[in-house]
């Protein structure tokens, strides 16, 4: 036994005597996720990555001022030698990012699902917690979560299925309201919480999912019809406004201005047969005034294009960020979908090339101070939506986006669910699964 140990020791000693050589390279490493040259907030500097080609690597980082330098060495496959890459920089912004984001995790499949849940993630760590799992709602769909101004103590989401409705959290109180039992009897879909906290504008959509028999875009989703309704949380009443609730147009994706005096939304003429004419449906960005709990005046068109269809308008100050696809109302399945920025001070619009990719960009959300955005993109593999962050300088420019860091970068590949509807939250929204379960049991 002793002899064997001695032999192993000698072998190890001999092996350690050979020098490992790293050839210096002027190039920065190709890593996944691509954090080269990104700008991150102070709380998100723990960036973990691997070599894009799967080689073993080691990494050291040092901070000089507001810049992080990452020194990466990678071993050649099957060799003791490797490459020492030029250090790459990561810039640190002092603009604070909200401490949490909330999102839904769902299989990016088709009609059905099994496990689904709304989750929160602390951005300063890797802690992810379920807010509510659909096990609490009889495996029904939970979706369209929203926090007024990112306030974690107030929240709403839809819980579909038998006994379902819209669930509102106010502090520790939870209540369920079935919107179909009030007002025009229409279900709410996409919400927009008024800055006052009293109203929520919903689009009410009749949505159809279809599947291409061949070709690379396998799924198409469209609305047969849609309108906008307004819920008053003080009276639990739902009201409608004729220009936003009519048979001639499909209105969807409501979004309030920060002051709450204007509701932005997307609208397209109602076609006779949506399925067959889906390729020609383009939504324009419209707006209508809101005052004293009522919509007033005629809506006006903010932006329209004969080659773009607008969805998810989100306003921060003078800037309005929206998703634009070639047609239709469900950009997540459209690889051409990109984020566009509208400067409402002069009406100029541009495609935000610095954050877009060749694949889908879709849902997005501003931080309350307008310094950060989080958006969903399918650029990693074309199917499983992942979250990216970018810093905004307030002058119309975004920094190179970075993927939501994971404790193990492999998690970006191994996770078999998509991130939906990312929203910034100013604190821990807590866990509601048990409460929701009790609510459903009642």
């Amino acid at each position: 036994m002793k002899r064997r140990v001695a032999i192993v020791f000698c072998l190890l000693l001999a092996a350690s005597c050979g020098r490992v050589q790293f050839a210096p390279s002027d190039a920065v490493p190709e890593i996944f996720p691509d954090y080269v040259g990104v700008t991150v907030p102070e709380t998100m500097t723990d960036l973990r990555f691997e070599m894009a080609d799967g080689r073993e690597m080691s990494c050291k980082s040092e901070r000089v001022g507001d810049t992080l330098f990452f020194h990466v060495r990678a071993w050649e496959k099957g060799s003791r030698n490797g490459v020492a890459y030029a250090p790459f920089k990561v810039y640190i912004s002092h603009d604070e990012i909200p401490p949490y984001i909330a999102y839904r995790l769902i299989e990016p499949g088709y009609e059905g699902w099994r496990n689904m849940g709304l989750y929160s993630r602390e951005l300063a760590s890797f802690k992810e917690k379920p807010i509510v799992l659909n096990s609490a709602t009889g495996m029904g769909c939970v979706n369209c979560h929203n926090f007024p101004g990112g306030d974690p103590s107030r929240m709403m989401f839809h819980a579909r299925g038998q006994g379902g409705g819209t669930i509102f959290k106010d502090g520790s109180e939870l209540r369920l309201l079935n919107l179909t039992t009030v007002g025009p009897g229409r279900q709410g879909t996409y919400p927009a919480w008024h800055p006052s906290g009293r109203y929520i504008a919903y689009s009410s959509n009749s949505t159809q999912q279809s599947f291409a028999i061949t070709g690379s875009q396998q799924v198409e989703v469209y609305d047969h019809f849609s309108d906008i309704i307004l819920l008053d949380l003080q009276t639990d009443s739902v009201t409608t406004y004729a220009p936003l609730f009519n048979e001639d147009e499909m209105e969807t994706f409501p979004a309030w201005s920060p002051e709450g005096d204007i509701l932005y939304y997307c609208s397209a003429p109602q076609p006779e047969n949506v399925a067959t004419s889906r390729g020609d449906i383009r939504y324009a960005l419209k707006a209508v005034r809101f005052s004293d709990g009522e919509f007033v005046g005629e809506p006006w068109t903010v932006f329209e294009s004969d080659s773009l269809s607008v969805s998810f308008p989100r306003v921060s100050g003078r800037w309005l960020l929206f998703t634009a696809s070639a047609y239709g109302t469900f950009p997540i399945w459209h690889p051409e979908a990109d984020l566009w920025l509208l400067d409402m001070s002069n009406g100029s619009v541009r495609c935000v090339d610095e954050i877009n990719s060749a694949d889908t960009e879709s849902y997005h959300s501003w931080s309350a101070d307008g310094k950060w955005i989080v958006f969903s993109s399918r650029r990693v593999d074309g199917r499983y939506t992942r979250l990216f962050f970018s810093h905004f300088d307030g002058e119309g420019h975004f920094t190179k986006p970075f993927l939501l860091p994971q404790k193990d970068p492999q998690q970006n590949t191994l996770r078999l669910t998509s991130y939906n509807v990312p929203e910034f939250v100013n604190g821990d929204p807590g866990e509601l699964t048990k409460q929701v379960s009790t609510l459903f049991a009642q």
């Binding site: 299989e107 059905g112 496990n115 599947f211 028999i213 061949t214 070709g215 690379s216 074309g382 193990d408």
Partner: protein, 537 residues
């Protein structure tokens, strides 16, 4: 040596029974199972009750895909339970193989009927905990931990080293080997000496070796017979064999299982049979040999919204060269799985995305599968193939805007596929047969006329299936009054049929013409179970 006879009987019985009676049922468990070294898998598992048994069960289930492993694992589990039970009872001086045999056979039955390995693993784990506690807390004669044990007693009863204390022995004791001193063989020989178990305080009863062996044999045999004769086990295995054969594209095996006779008892077999017949080029000749009552029997397209439908559709559309719909079905199938995903679905997604040239997603599924225990080589095969292949470019916007959308109606989908230039050899037969089942003679005639060469020309169009018109197409043509190319035999039979419908009672007609299109055509579509009401003169 004698002490291993009973466990050996248990092992062999469980192994053979699983191998002979349930092999494919366990393969199907692997299809539905999932195990992967990923944070999400473990997080999800730890949200379920009894996560450890779930994780161990999932780990073991991976091996079920390969024929002999499931029987080995089941047999090992049952035998382990037997040994632990014998050891536990031995601690209380109950010297017998019969009680462990009864209980381990009960576990075997639990495993045999359970939909996953989880329950069986849970039982074995609980037994293990009990066994460990008993080893720690009790000594063979029933003394509590810490009590002084005479060295001789320990040595004789358990074979442990002299001077070793009870707790130390408990930790070091090996299953069966050291508790084997309590086993019948030992007990039998111990009759001769003063240190035999029956002489120890607390001994309950003792049976001769042959009683234990024969008793165990009887119990194992009885369990074997129960499983062999149990209708549920047989039905489940039959369905599993059919499903596994279909996934493996083993169409001969599918047809060997899904015979017309069996399909009469289980109509869910018919879609598989028709799929296999289509792939073998025999659909037009054998469709009505099956007890088909309506177009609903042809597939699971319209009438079902469940796992059975998506499992079948995934295979169907893959064979019809329509990977988009196969992928759709795979994703839907996954929603019925306990983990929301399964090995079968992941394998199919990998292969389908590879087939359509979407390497980004294929690589993802290869990476995911490689995080399981047994898919390394499988994933590597695709990864290496992709390294030398060329991914497909995404379609143009103009194409995407107008691409036909899939429907829930297979016929519409097949016609759309045909219009799109995707013509799997079996697709034409499926279209024609669906039209026959729908009694849509006008469209049958139109489509058959356009594809007639496939059946009548020796050269055909490259996908010709033969040089004569399949039997049921001939019968349909006769119904349409078209005799060109129809065999003399069919013409004569049709003439007979026409005469017989005027004179014979329904029962006789069914007997004579039950396997013809004519009888199906003339029966009421609204009353499929009571055919031919209008012919009941």
């Amino acid at each position: 040596m004698k002490k291993i006879i009973s466990p050996l009987i248990v092992f062999c019985g469980a192994f053979l029974a699983t191998l002979l009676l349930q092999k494919n049922s366990f393969v199907l468990q692997e299809y539905d199972g999932l195990f992967m070294l990923s944070p999400d898998y473990f997080a999800a598992m730890f949200r379920t009750p009894f996560p450890i048994s779930g994780i161990i069960g999932d780990f073991l289930t991976q091996f079920f895909r390969f024929g002999v492993y499931a029987p080995l694992i089941v047999a090992a589990g049952v035998t382990l339970a037997f040994l632990m039970l014998r050891s536990i009872l031995g601690r209380f001086s109950i010297w017998s193989d019969l009680i462990p045999a009864v209980l381990s056979c009960a576990l075997w039955v639990i495993i045999a009927f359970a939909p996953t390995a989880r329950r069986g693993v849970a039982v074995v784990l609980i037994l293990f905990v009990v066994w460990a506690l008993v080893q720690l807390l009790f000594r063979p004669s029933g003394a509590r931990l810490g009590e002084n044990v005479p060295d001789e007693t320990v040595s004789d009863a358990s074979g442990a080293k002299k001077g070793q204390n009870v707790s130390g022995k408990a930790v070091s004791v090996a299953l069966g080997a050291k508790t084997g001193g309590n086993a019948p063989g030992k007990a039998n020989s111990a009759n001769l000496g003063a240190k035999s178990p029956q002489n120890e305080p607390g001994s309950r009863w003792l049976l001769p070796l042959w009683v234990n062996v024969v008793g165990t044999l009887v119990l194992v045999g009885a369990t074997f017979l129960c499983l062999a004769l149990n209708g549920m086990v047989r039905e489940r295995e039959q369905t599993a064999t059919l499903r596994v054969a279909a996934v493996m594209s083993d169409w001969d095996r599918v047809l060997a299982i899904a015979t017309p006779e069996r399909a009469a008892a289980d109509p869910d077999m018919m879609p598989y049979a028709f799929l296999a017949l289509g792939e073998k080029g025999r659909l037009g000749s054998e469709l009505f040999k099956y007890p088909v009552q309506s177009p609903d029997d042809f597939d699971f397209g319209l009438s079902e919204e469940n796992e059975v439908r998506y499992y079948f559709n995934s295979i169907l559309y893959q064979t019809l060269q329509c990977p988009n719909e196969a992928i759709h079905s795979d994703f839907q199938l996954a929603t019925y799985e306990a983990h929301g995903q399964s090995f079968l679905v992941l394998r199919r997604l990998l292969s389908n995305y590879y087939q359509i040239g979407n390497y980004e997603l294929a690589r993802k599924y290869a990476a995911v599968l490689s995080r399981s225990t047994l898919h390394g080589q499988y994933a590597r095969y695709f990864t290496e193939s992709m390294a030398s292949g060329t991914p497909r470019e995404p379609d143009s916007l103009a194409f995407r805007k107008v691409v036909p959308l899939i429907t829930r109606d297979e016929l519409s989908n097949l016609i759309m596929l045909g219009a799109g230039g995707i013509n799997a050899p079996a697709a034409v037969d499926r279209v024609l047969c669906l039209l026959l089942l729908q009694r849509d003679m006008e469209r049958f005639q139109a489509i058959f006329t356009s594809v007639r060469d496939r059946y009548t020309s020796p050269q055909g169009n490259g996908s010709a299936r033969g040089t004569s018109i399949p039997r049921y197409y001939e019968e349909a043509l006769m119904t349409l009054g078209l005799t060109d190319g129809v065999s003399e035999q069919t013409r004569q039979r049709y003439a007979d049929f026409q005469l017989d419908t005027m004179s014979l009672p329904v029962a006789q007609l069914r007997k004579l013409y039950g396997d013809t299109f004519w009888l199906y055509y003339m029966s009421s579509p609204d009353n499929a179970t009571d055919i031919l009401p209008e012919l009941d003169f």
